[in-house]
Symmetry: C2
Subunit: 143 residues, 2 copies
Amino acid sequence: MYAALDEKEDFLMTETYMTIREMCDAYDVTPRTLRFYEAKELLFPERRGTKRLFTRRDRARLKLILRGKRFGFSLEDIRQLLDLYDPDQQNLPQMQRAFELGKERLVDLEARRAELEAIITDLKANLDWGAKLLADAQKTAAE
Amino acid sequence: MYAALDEKEDFLMTETYMTIREMCDAYDVTPRTLRFYEAKELLFPERRGTKRLFTRRDRARLKLILRGKRFGFSLEDIRQLLDLYDPDQQNLPQMQRAFELGKERLVDLEARRAELEAIITDLKANLDWGAKLLADAQKTAAE
DNA sequence: ATGCAGACTTACGTTTACGTCAACGTAACG
DNA sequence: CGTTACGTTGACGTAAACGTAAGTCTGCAT
């Protein structure tokens, strides 16, 4: 289960559970953020008494959340997507919705990839152009 | 000038100036958004009396703004980058800052490209897996 | 001349994604 | 047994990116 949520460095992670502080240090987020994500039902840490215990599943989800954010997805967008990476096999209709949604996302992401490629090419060209302009300016100033 | 800001379809754009409504229709934004971008010094429409007239330069900048937003950049990030795409040759220090900033962005974008590649691969794998799960579920239900 | 569609300014409202106290619980340490 | 460190729940605050409503102006068609 959660095959896609696994990561290579997980073999280092001997602890099954992590406290909120360990999570913060490991993923560079604040406690507030983790509690906020829990409130928004993006994470589901267990409890020992009143304290949160973050599982492997939570860690995997958090990685995906942070990833999504870097690409401009809203938390609500991400919440939808998480259902795909972490399906509830008891709920067929939900799985199918997640599946359809995932296919749409794939199209979207591939379009983004193309656009990103264009942006990079573009930026490179502008950097070359800028370098030339700056070089000219240097020479002019030297006279 | 503004070589990188040109686009292929521009030859269709006979009008040098566009009204705010034309802009809204063309780029699917609201008037509020355009005025907001002007207030934030991302766009610099000219004025006929009190009314805004958006130039080719504004249109090129707007495209870049919308692009940047799709990739999760803040408007402030974007404002900085626009200086690179639209340099002020009277201002050497600003050009150099823009140049340095642009180089950093390039590194950033190339990292994003790699991550995006990983995300796509990942999502595809999950979709295949999901397809399998759904197929199994269908069969089970058929018995 | 007038009315009305659009554009303009000003200003307050809204949503997202947290930040920042305040007040309290609890567990370990000396 | 006190205090120090870390964790918890509200509750209010904030920055970014606009939305929205109110009131004004303005060009032009009737």
